[in-house]
Every structure is written in C-alpha cells, then in structure tokens.
Amino acid sequence: MSSENRSEWNLIDPDVLSRLSQYPLTTSLPMIGTVTGLHKSPHKGASVEFAEYRKYVPGDDIRRLDWRVYARTDRFYVKEFEADTNLRCYLALDCSGSMGFSSDGKTSKLDYARKLAATLAYLAIQQGDAVGVHCLSGDSVVDIPPRRNPTHLKVIFDVMQRAKPAGKTNLLPLLHELAEKIRQRAIVIVFSDFFCDLRQLISCFQHLRFQKHDLAIFHLIDPQEIEFPFEHPTRFIDMEDPMSLLTEPNVIKRQYLKNLDEFLNGISVGCRQFNVDYRRVITNQSYEKVLADFLLERNNK
C-alpha cells in the first residue's frame, strides 16, 4: 500500500471500527433501495417477516398464493412479506473556512468531521448501504454519488482527505440543492458548524425532511467558541472573510455567550420540530463516543 493510501486510511481507526461495527447504521424511515439490505422498505418483498394478505390479481406469481387460505375461504390470496432493502447515505461535509478553526492547533472542526464521516461511511458500506459524499466549500461542491461497492470507500476517503477549509459558509443553497437532487429516500448526514442564518437553516432542514429524507446533523463546536476564554484586548480575524475586529473580550463576552446560547437553543428547537437527529459535538470529545451514542440511539428508536 502506498504512503498516499495510508494517509487516506488514517481517517478511520480499525479499533474504533471493530467496536462500532456491533451497532448498525439504521433509520426509522423506510428506504427505497436497489438490493436487499437491513432497512425497511415501503414495498413488499421476500423477507421472512409477514406483512399482509392481498387479493390475487392476474399477473401475480401463482407460487405466492396461500393455498391454506384458499382451502378455507375458496378465494385466492397472495401472502406478502416486508421487503428489506439497502439505503443511500449522503454525507454532507461543510468545508468552509470556519471549519478549519482549531483552538489546540491540532484537530480542526473539519478534521473531526472527516473522522466522523469516514467512520460512518465505512460502517454503512460494510453493511451493504450505498454512501455518497458532498463536500461543500464556498461555491464549489465535490459531489460523489452513492455506491455500495467497498472499493468506493477509497474514492470517498480520497475526496475527504483532499477537502480543505476555505471560503464562506454557503451551506444553505447547497442543502436545498441536495434536497432536490436526491430522488429517492435517503439518510442525509450533515457535518457543519452551521455559522449561518438560523431561520434559513431550519428551512433547509424542513426541505430535506419534506423530501422524506432521514436527516441527521452533527453540529461541530470548538471548546474555545463555547467558552470564549479571552480577557485581554484581541483582534479577531475572520476565517471566512477578509475582515477583523479589535475588541475588549470582557466587554462583549456576556453578549457573545448570550448570542451563542440563543443560536444553540434555536437550532436544537428547530431540529426537534422537524424530527431531525441533532448532535452537538464539542471537538474535544471522543469521536468514538459521539458515534457510539449516535448509532445506539438510532438502533433504539
């Protein structure tokens, strides 16, 4: 294996994967897949789980007639079973400039998001689901359509690895576009810091949910952003815009924390309203723990 390949595969940790593989990535919504999988389908299929009896119509496979029912009722009924199918998982990765922020200088929010996305992609493909990636950076979008081929992982990881934080957060139009673009039901997982207008963001979530997609979002926040531990006069340089602000942190701290608090509450309430699986993630948390909680809670639903 080449060194380049090795760096791509660094996004996942085999130990973490082995521990998380016991929790399948599930969805409570029926999915329309192309092959048999773990997930419920809106269609009837050939799984072992009985669904219903249906009157025979010409053209039905006579092998599916229930002869016992015919013997008792003298009518033809077809026995139908639940169909299990695979799902399409869309991983939307915000690669705006703000995602490059890192208070410890090691793990940026984008690095953290990459690990979460890569691990989820691996788990999904391993259970036969198709995974696609959308890296949203400024006005450019890198779009990898979903595939369930294990070799597709390399493409996904490669795209993720090459994604660099740059440009302004242009998440909103891209999420709307994504909602329209995905034709069939899918699980859409968004990794972002969501530094955008809250009302429009909730509207995006609504749009995605309206398209019957299962939406999960990982809201990535750096510890420094939530604590604002500055005391001395500081010049804050915007990571997305060529602008800066020289200010007294002591003067604005209270208002900053208030604004942030309102935003976090707003996004949380909005997600609850549209049944969006919302995860607030502080980047000093263990990503394994975050994913374990995410998968476990979805399984328990």
Binding site: F195, F236, N250, Q255, Y256, S286, E288
Partner: protein
C-alpha cells in the same frame, strides 16, 4: 486641603496607570483567527451600553484607588475643614478668637494665637465674598465685620492681650449679633487652647447659651480648633499678690508679695529682677513645686518723693513672655476703717477696742454704728465690717453682699435673734451655767484667720469660755466646740469672705472680751479686708474700665492699652498697675470629651492643631482615604466578577464535560 507629605503628590499621575495599562494592552493586542464571527460581530454591535459603562467604571475605580493611595501616603489634612468641599457657604461665619494670655505661648516660633489667626485667615479666605465674616475676640467681645481675611493678623482686635477669656460671655456676644442680624445659616469657628478656667465646661450658662443659639439660627455649625499642645519649653508665670508700704523706724518698708506658677515641679533657683522706681534688684528664689509664694521687702528712703511709686517683677523669658512680668504700684499706707454695727454698747465698745486698740500706734480706726444707721453707711470705705446684730435682710443685706463680693470682709457675731446670711444660719440659742462653760476643742491652725502666728504660736482658743451660743450651720467650719458643733464658720463670696461666730463678745455670752482670740482674729480680718483698699491701684487686665470715670489714661510702663495689656498706667492723678488675671496661671486644659459634652446636641466638630510643619485648621484624614481606597477596590472587584452562568448553560457545559475523554 493641605498635606503633611506634599512631595508624595508628585505620585498623583500614577493614578493614570490603569488607563495607560489599558491602552498599552489595547496596543499590545494579540490576533486570533476566529470562526464564530457572526456571534462576535453581533455581540460587538449589541454589546450593551451597560457593559461599556461597567468597563469604564472598573477603570475609574482603579484610577480612584491609586489616587486614594497617593493621597494616603501624602497624609492629607482636612484643609480649611473638609466641609468646604461638601457644604455650601453659610450666610455668616462668626470667628471667635481666644486672645487670652495663655494663647501667647510660643510653639515652633509662633504663638498659639498667631497660629490660630493664620489658620482662621486661610480658612476664611475660601468664604470671602460668599459669607459674612464676623470676628469676636475674647478680650473686647465686640463683633467686627472683616472684609479681607488676609488682614486678620494685622487688626488690633487680634493682637496679643494679657486678659483672660470668658468663652461663654464671648459666645453670648455672638448670640446677640445673631439675634440682631438674623443670618440664615451660621457657622461659629472657635480657635482656642481650651484652657479650663476660660471655658468652664461645668458652668450652667452653657446649656442656656446653646439653647438660645440653637433657636436663634436655623442651621448652626460649631467648629473648634484646639491649639492645646503643651509647649516643649517650661512656662513660668509671676503675679503680684500685694504690695504695700509700712512705716518702720528706718523709713518706709515696701513689702511685695508675689506668686510664681510653674509648669515644671523641678527644684531650681529662679532669678528675679525687681524694679522699684526704676532701681533694679536681682535675686534668686528657691523654687520647689509648681506654686511658689515669695515676700520681698524693700526699704524706701524717707521723703515725699518716694511716698508712692510703681515697680515690676521680671522672671527670665520662657515660652510665654507675657506672663513673665508683673507690675505693682504702692502708696502711703491708707487709714483703714472698721465699721462696728452693734446696738449693744458694751459689745460695741469691746469690738471697737479690738479693731483699733491704739490710734496713735496704728493707722486703723473703728466706728461704732447703730444698726438703724447702717443703711446710710458708705460701706465701701471700710476694710472690715463687724456685725454684732441679727444678720441683715432686704436692701441692706444686698448692700453687704456686694461689699463682700468686691473683696470686703464681714465678721458676724450671734445676735439676740435667729437669722441667716448667704447660707450661714444662726439657729436656736443654748445657754450654760457659768461653771459649765463650753470650750473650743479644735480649730484650723494651718491656715486662715485662726492659723498659728509667724512665730508658730497657736491662738489660745482653748482658753475661751462660752456661756451662750447659737447653733451655727453653713459654710466651712474653722473651729468646733467639744460637742462637735461649729464655733466659727467661714464662707467665701466673690473676692471677700464672711466669718461667723456662734457666740458674742458680751460678758454674759463668752470671755471673748478678754481679747486673747478676739484681737488677733479681728486684726487678721482687718488685714484681709485692707487688701481691697490697698489694692485699689492693682487691677486685673480685662476687668479694669476707666471709661465711666472719664479720666485720661496714660501708659507709664508696659502696654499701651490698659484693657488688653498689662502695665502701669496713670489714671488722672494716680497710678494703677494692670496685671494678667490669676486664672491664666492655671495651666489646666479641658478634655476634648468635656468640650464635646458641652456642645452636645449641636453640629460640632473638633479639630486639633498638631503643630506640624505647616499650620492648618484641620485634622489628618488619611484614614478616610484609606477606607475610600478599599471601597474602590471592593467595587472594582465586584464589577470584574465574571457574569453568572445561566442554569441552561451550566447544564450544557456539564453535559459536554461529561463527554470529554482523552482523544485517542
């Protein structure tokens, strides 16, 4: 406001240190690449005015704290009274200046009076043009309006004087001025050394005075500058008690009785210069203790030229030079008269002989006056009044009372009826048999009229036989009978005294007529009463007033104004010596607590002059600045407290902290 360490005020710019540090911090800001700019910009836009005010308040508190610290080390004094800063100018300020002799004590090169004037002038300058400034000095007690406080030290009303201060009377003059002029708000500034004899804190007049002051003006404040630090140098005072001529075979003998009061009790030989008619004699008298009496005798040559004259006694200069000289005048011994008021001819005769045994040998005369003629008697001409009757009442009693107050002496014998005079009461009569006469058991031999003679011999009171007596009560008992009842009593009234005897001189009353006790008793009382006559030329500064007489007063020696300065003056054709009051030799200072209790109920502030390097009508107030500094720091620390985290935030943070694990 003045400061004891003004050089420390150069550190005042240090108060700007917090501002400079703040600006430097702003200049030395660090740059941080920041993601959550939307919240930051929003916070910066909407950062409340309150937060910015709070930030400036914190800075202000730090500036104030440093400034207060600088003031603390500069040792500020409540300049011109701290009240200037906070209180408006009153309508009138009554400046009461203690011009008593004790204020002439020098400390650090300036007298207490000069220090007081300087401070008062400095303090009054701040009110010039805003308040009416009225000066009342204790010597003249006349309110004077002051135009320019800077001239306060040059006024004759603030010059040195040898008078005593009657603070109550001075304030009463101030009260009259207030009642006359009716100013709205009034401040009374008093500068005094708090000499107890001047202030009389126990005097009942204070209560009435302050009540009237309170009702005379709506807003009264009293500020007292206490200049009572004892001088580091010893202060001795000399005073002439008596100076009189006596005829002796060699000529005329001048006897000068002088008293020296000292602040020290160290044993020393005190040098004295005694000038008699410009002839100086130098002597040294041994001094032990704080009070010394000395009698000096000078033989005056025969001749009319020196039949009268003046002199002075000087002691060496000390911290108060004005009480180091005492003046006296003398003249030919006057004929001393005694009035014997008695309707009983036998008693009257006995007493007349006892008062003037031999007209040829002495200059004493006795006049027998029946009691009914006592009304028309010019009692002031007599050195002694012997009253062998029932004590008088009505106008006659008042006349006798004023005679005693002016220095006269009255000797009462028990009359035929009961009676009383000035608290001395002659009660019911006791009579005994001739062979069971009452005897005198004890009497005061150390001092007073019954004291031993100069040779140390006791008066033979034990040989007296009393057959009739009246129960005597009131006054101080000088002699007692065997049964403990009083035989002779004494009461001091003003400058004079009243002596009362429980019996009488008649043969059926006692054997006093034998004279063994009666003659020395009456002669001694005669001598005591004679001082009033002899000392008509010895006056007390501040009490003498010749304006009523209408005679010209010419200074001979010493001061130029007899009302304020000690010295020798010629009034009409006679000489008078004016000396400082005896009360000024009482160096006792009233406690500040006593003075505070006097002004209880009045807005009163006491300031103490510490005699620091600079004069000030003020007290140190560095403690106030220290408290202020602590307060500023407490406020600053409260303001810099981080904002309280809301319960919701606390929950989120707890949740997040619980999730934190060591990243692999």
């Amino acid at each position: 406001m003045t400061f004891l360490e003004p050089i420390m005020l150069y550190g005042l710019p240090l108060a700007l240190l917090p501002v400079i540090i703040h600006l430097l911090n702003k200049l030395r800001h660090r740059s941080v690449r920041w993601a959550a700019m939307m919240f930051l910009l929003s916070a910066n836009r909407t950062a409340t005015r309150q937060a910015r005010i709070k930030q400036w308040l914190i800075l202000l508190m730090r500036v104030f704290a440093v400034a207060a610290l600088v003031f603390v080390v500069s040792r500020p004094l409540a300049g011109g009274w701290l009240g200037w800063v906070f209180q408006g100018a009153p309508d009138a300020i009554l400046i009461v200046l203690d011009r008593s002799l004790s204020m002439e004590t020098k400390i650090n090169g300036a007298t207490k009076r000069e220090t007081a004037i300087q401070i008062l002038a400095n303090s009054a300058r701040a009110y010039q043009g805003r308040s009416q400034l009225i000066l009342i000095d204790t010597a003249t007690r006349t309110p004077q309006e002051i135009g320019d406080p800077a001239l306060l030290g040059r006024l004759s009303f603030t010059a040195a004087s040898d008078t005593a201060a009657d603070v109550i009377a001075t304030l009463e003059s101030g009260l009259e001025w207030i009642q006359r002029n009716k100013p709205g708000s009034t401040e009374i500034w008093i500068a005094s050394d708090l000499q107890k004899s001047n202030w009389q804190p126990d005097n009942e007049r204070w209560r009435d005075l302050l009540a009237r002051l309170g009702s005379a003006t709506s807003n009264l404040r009293v500020r007292l500058l206490q200049i009572s630090n004892p001088s580091p140098i010893e202060d001795n005072s000399v005073l002439i008690k008596d100076a009189f001529l006596k005829n002796v075979p060699e000529g005329k003998l001048l006897t000068i009785e002088l008293a020296v009061e000292r602040t020290s009790s160290e044993q020393v030989n005190l040098p004295l210069n005694i000038f008699v008619n410009r002839t100086r004699q130098y002597i040294e008298i041994p001094c032990q203790g704080q009070s010394v009496s000395y009698r000096h005798k000078v033989l005056i040559e025969e001749g009319d030229k020196y039949a009268s004259g003046w002199g002075k006694v000087e002691i060496s200069a000390d911290s108060n030079v004005r009480n180091n000289i005492a003046y006296f005048v003398y003249s030919a011994p006057p004929v001393l008269k005694a009035a014997i008021i008695s309707s009983n001819s036998i008693g009257g005769r006995i007493l007349t002989i006892a008062a003037a045994p031999s007209k040829s040998d002495t200059n004493r005369m006795a006049e027998l006056v029946p009691v009914e003629k006592a009304d028309s008697l010019n009692i002031g001409d007599y050195a002694l009044v012997v009253w062998n009757e029932k004590p008088p009442s009505g106008e006659l009693a008042e006349k006798l009372r004023s005679y005693v107050r002016s220095g006269g002496v009255v000797l009462f014998f028990a009359g035929i009826d009961e009676g009383n005079f000035e608290g001395i009461n002659f009660g019911k009569e006791d009579q005994t048999e001739q062979d069971r006469a009452l005897k005198v058991a004890s009497w005061q031999e150390n001092e007073g009229v019954l004291a031993r003679t100069e040779e140390g011999l006791s008066l033979p009171l034990n040989e007296l036989r009393i057959f009739k007596r009246r129960q005597l009560s009131g006054g101080e008992a000088l002699a007692r009978f065997e049964d403990g009842s009083v035989f002779i009593a004494r009461k001091v009234l003003g400058k004079g005294q009243i002596i009362a005897c429980a019996s009488s001189v008649e043969p059926d009353c006692s054997n006093l007529r034998e004279g063994i006790v009666l003659v020395p008793l009456i002669q001694r009382l005669f001598e005591s009463g004679a001082k009033r006559i002899r000392q008509s030329g010895m006056l007390v500064c501040g009490e003498a007033d010749f304006r009523a007489i209408g005679e010209s007063v010419v200074p001979v020696e010493g001061g130029s104004d007899y009302r304020a300065n000690a010295g020798v003056y010629r009034v009409g054709g006679r000489l008078v010596a004016v000396n400082h009051p005896e009360v000024e030799d009482n160096f006792e200072i009233a406690d500040s607590s006593e003075i505070r209790s006097v002004f209880n109920g009045v807005n009163f502030t006491l300031f103490e002059e510490k005699y620091s390097n600079r004069s000030s009508f003020q007290s140190e107030i560095w403690r106030s600045f220290l408290i202020a500094m602590v307060l500023f720091l407490i406020i600053e620390s409260i303001l810099v407290l981080p904002p309280r985290v809301r319960p919701q935030q606390q929950f989120v943070q707890r949740q997040e902290n619980a999730l934190v694990e060591d990243p692999k």
